[in-house]
């Protein structure tokens, strides 16, 4: 037990138990759905997970700083539609440039969120609820409710989701999923080892202390929103690649899946703790549920209800279970070393009159 306590942190136990839950869910659905254990199922889940994961990584940074970005679904839809229209009209566009434009467009929308939250001092829930509606509204208005269709897109984009980058046996690891993995690994390393990234944790953990030691709170919060926007932009491009047909409804409701992934993945809604790896596990859980419930023919409204329930359960379990684990683990204990006694201080003892 002590060995375990030294090696593993309570937060890691939580991530491990999530992994167990995911396996349990797969076994559970496997017994209901015919042909569940197939590469087709894997690929479906993987491409759904890929998009949720990329946005969830950005959302994690925002949530770490005690904020939330509800506008991610609209950012994803916005970039998917506009980058789609751009590519449809310029089929010869350089793929790298197209991705860069998607990321830049998402980042620009994130800048708007970040500026209002960090410098306007408006709570993030309110700001991003507003921009959730505004970005979608602008999209509907500018697009004239037209649709990007698959046949207007160049072949490389249509083929992209099917590209197999790392065949493991007969299992495909496809490009989009690989991209998500790379992003998770990069951000996991970044948030662990980069000094400036540690500030996301510090600021969410104790904003007052962060202020007093002079951390640039506003810039860090701003940066979190911009990164979240940029990753949502990238996810918009991934959505375009995956579906080809993009309506003004694209990405609608994605914020629910993403917030669920982040919270289920163990990122504390009150900021300061959680990892992008956890968020990815959360995304895998959510993606598995979404695809499996879809296969079972359960209505998407029920799916939303399930996501909502998961968010509540995750927050409740954080409050109760993690608390218990931490108590069990105990904090660091202060021990005084036997030191050569300093004779200066002991001579002046308070003698009662």
């Amino acid at each position: 037990m002590n060995w375990l306590k030294r090696r593993v942190r309570p937060e890691q136990i939580r991530e491990l138990s999530l992994l167990v839950l995911i396996l349990a869910a797969i076994v559970f659905f496997g017994s209901f759905i015919d042909n569940y254990y197939s590469f087709r199922t894997f690929n479906r889940i993987a491409s759904s997970v890929a998009i949720i994961t990329v946005v969830a990584v950005g959302q994690t940074l925002v949530v770490l700083t005690r904020n939330i970005d509800l506008s991610v679904g609209s950012i994803v839809g916005f970039t998917a539609y506009f980058v789609g229209t751009l590519i449809a009209s310029h089929n010869g566009i350089n793929p790298i440039l197209a991705v860069a434009i998607a990321i830049a467009l998402g980042a620009a929308l994130g800048v708007v969120n970040g500026v209002i939250v960090a410098w306007g001092k408006v709570p993030a829930v309110v700001v991003t609820l507003g921009t959730l509606a505004i970005y979608r509204g602008v999209l509907v208005d500018l697009s004239g409710a037209k649709t990007v269709t698959t046949d207007s897109l160049p072949q490389w984009l249509i083929d992209l989701p099917l590209v197999n980058v790392a065949p493991i046996g007969s299992l495909d690891i496809r490009a989009l999923f690989m991209l998500a993995l790379v992003i998770v690994v990069a951000f996991q390393i970044g948030t662990t080892y980069l000094s400036f990234a540690r500030r996301f944790y510090a600021i969410g953990s104790n904003p007052e202390a962060a202020q007093l030691i002079g951390l640039p709170i506003k810039s860090v919060v701003f940066l979190a929103f911009v990164i979240c926007g940029a990753l949502s932009g990238l996810a918009g491009f991934m959505l375009l690649a995956r579906f080809g047909n993009i309506t003004v409804e694209a990405g609608r409701g994605l914020e629910l899946s993403v917030v669920a992934a982040v919270v289920v993945g163990g990122v504390n809604v009150f900021g300061g703790s959680g990892t992008v790896t956890g968020a990815m596990l959360g995304a895998v859980m959510i993606g598995t549920l979404e695809q499996s419930l879809f296969r079972l023919g359960i209505s998407e409204f029920w799916l939303d209800a399930v996501l909502g329930l998961l968010i509540l359960l995750a927050v409740a379990s954080d409050a109760v279970i993690l608390q218990r684990l931490r108590q069990l683990w105990g904090g660091a204990e202060l021990k005084l070393l036997a030191k050569e006694t300093d004779s200066v201080s002991s001579e002046q003892s308070a003698s009662p009159p």
Binding site: L212, G272, A332, K335
Partner: protein, 517 residues
């Protein structure tokens, strides 16, 4: 910098590290600081005394870059500087430690120590950081698992981490704003050891405390503020507590005179073998009408837990409680309240008061039912009249009882809180750290109020880490250690020595049973 420092009480004359010249600061209508000049030398512990609102905090905030002075100059190492932010103050070698340590609970101890290093490079070298943190703590004479998160550290351990943080920054000037307010006597001594170490290393320390005896124990120089002005600066040898207090309040106050007892014969509260599993056990005492029973012990000894159990917030799991001779069960705070027990918590902000609400609304909150008209609406006129009587009775200084509690000073908030519970007509009043963080003037007032309440026949339990306060107020002192009752001492036997002996777990020789004295 000149290294030939006088090791003893700063006998060698060197240029000051920090010099403040004619600093003034105004907030709206209040002149927070007026023409303040002060100098701080290497290896010197300079205490700042003053009531709340006297200007100490403003001065500290100016030195640490939180506020900018309206006029005047700050010199560091002889050079005039402008300190625009806390980060800049740290770069200049000025750091501050506050009453409530400000750590990041989710970050590990090592990262907490090094987080404010602006120059720590783009990449975190965890191994090296853990090693460095271990080294600094070892130099301070302690070990702490630096890989564990700071969440759940004791206050004393948090203070140690704050000091380690300051040391890692190579501070020249360390400001300590009431660092001892939440520490037990033993922990204070450990802290003082560290402070003296820092002093020997040539750090200049600005030390703010409301505890007079601590100031006179540790400070080389004592400066008193009143109403934004610097009243006096004296060396410890020239100063006396009486003079310092007179300077602080502009009149003489004696906090050392014991209260005259007004305890009556009949027992109001009788507790037998009370315990809460895993927290405390075997607590037994009788509380008489008009008696003040002090609870002494180190922080974490379980004193507050007994108070919470009696009131019902964290109910007891074993033992008996008799109230006015009748056995009662207290399971919730509502039980406690309806039985006539009141508990005034140590944490005014979080447990006690609703800060954005008016004074009168706070006072009537627990018994709002008494203020309902026949239609079920709250009769605010009646509420105001009640609040006004308490304002007169406890001398709450406010223009109106409609004022938000958040706008009152700490001492007056404390009085509002007392009013709130007195309004429930308690027969037993439990006061948990009633004077923590309040200044000397208000402290004397609170003491007088406690005496007055006891004289009215209320049985009062005072839980306090301020030992002189317990001794001055109490008819008897109950001492706890690690969840156990160690002794109950009469006023005649209770003094600092006997109480501390019991609190530290050593039996004083004269109370060992069966041994001839």
């Amino acid at each position: 910098m000149s290294e030939g420092l006088g090791l003893a009480d700063g006998a060698v004359v060197v240029a000051p590290i920090l010099e403040i010249r004619g600093v003034a600061k105004r907030f709206d209508a209040t002149q927070a600081l007026e023409d303040v000049s002060l100098s701080l030398h290497a290896g010197e512990i300079h205490a700042l005394l003053g009531e709340n609102g006297a200007g100490k905090s403003t001065l500290i905030k100016i030195i640490t870059g939180v506020h900018q002075p309206d006029s005047g100059q700050i010199l560091l190492g002889g050079q005039p500087v402008t300190i625009r932010s806390a980060a800049e103050a740290q770069r200049l070698g000025v750091a501050a430690i506050y009453q409530e340590p400000l750590l990041f609970p989710d970050l590990n101890v090592a990262e907490n120590i090094f987080i404010s290093h602006q120059d720590r490079g783009a990449v975190v070298g965890w191994r090296e950081m853990f090693r460095e943190a271990d080294k600094i703590l070892a130099e301070l004479g302690m070990t702490l698992d630096v890989r564990k998160p700071a969440r759940g550290l004791t206050l004393a351990a948090q203070q140690s981490v704050e000091i380690a943080k300051a040391i890692s920054l190579n501070v020249r000037v360390l400001i300590m704003d009431e660092p001892t307010a939440s520490l037990s006597a033993h922990e204070v001594q450990e802290l003082f050891k560290l402070v003296r170490d820092l002093k020997r290393q040539g750090v200049a320390i600005l030390f703010v405390s409301h505890r007079m005896e601590e100031v006179f124990e540790i400070a080389d120089k004592i400066t008193v503020f009143r109403d934004g002005r610097l009243i006096s600066t004296r060396t410890r040898l020239e100063a006396t507590p009486q003079r310092a207090i007179a300077d602080m309040v502009g009149r003489e106050i004696d906090l050392t005179k014991a209260r005259t007892s007004c305890a009556q014969k009949d027992v109001v509260l009788s507790v037998a073998d009370l315990g809460r599993q895993g927290v405390f056990e075997g607590v037994s005492f009788d509380l008489h009408r008009g008696e003040v029973l002090g609870f002494a012990g180190l922080i974490g000894a379980g004193r507050t837990d007994v108070g919470l159990a009696l009131f019902g917030i964290e109910p007891a799991t074993s033992g008996r409680i008799l109230l006015g001779g009748k056995p009662v069960t207290v399971r919730t705070a509502r039980d406690g309240m309806s039985l006539g027990i009141a508990y005034v918590s140590e944490d005014r902000r979080q447990l006690g008061l609703v800060l954005p609400m008016s004074i009168f609304a706070n006072i009537t909150l627990p018994v709002l039912r008494r203020y309902l008209s026949r239609l079920g609406l709250v009769r605010t006129g009646l509420e105001r009249r009640t609040a006004d009587t308490f304002r007169d009775r406890l001398a709450i200084r406010t223009p109106s009882v409609d004022l938000e509690v958040a706008k009152l000073s700490g001492g007056n908030q404390q009085k509002v809180m007392l009013s709130k519970w007195l309004n429930t007509n308690p027969s037993v009043l439990i006061l948990d750290e009633p004077t923590r963080g309040v200044d000397v003037g208000s402290k004397a007032e609170v003491h007088a109020i406690i005496g007055q309440l006891a004289a009215e026949g209320i049985g009062v339990i005072v839980i306090s880490s301020d030992l002189p306060e317990v001794l001055v107020l109490s008819d008897r002192v109950l001492i706890m250690r690690e969840g156990r009752q160690m002794a109950i001492l009469d006023r005649a036997e209770a003094n600092e020595e006997t109480v501390m002996t019991a609190a530290m777990g050593q039996r004083s020789t004269d109370s060992i049973d069966g041994r001839p004295s």
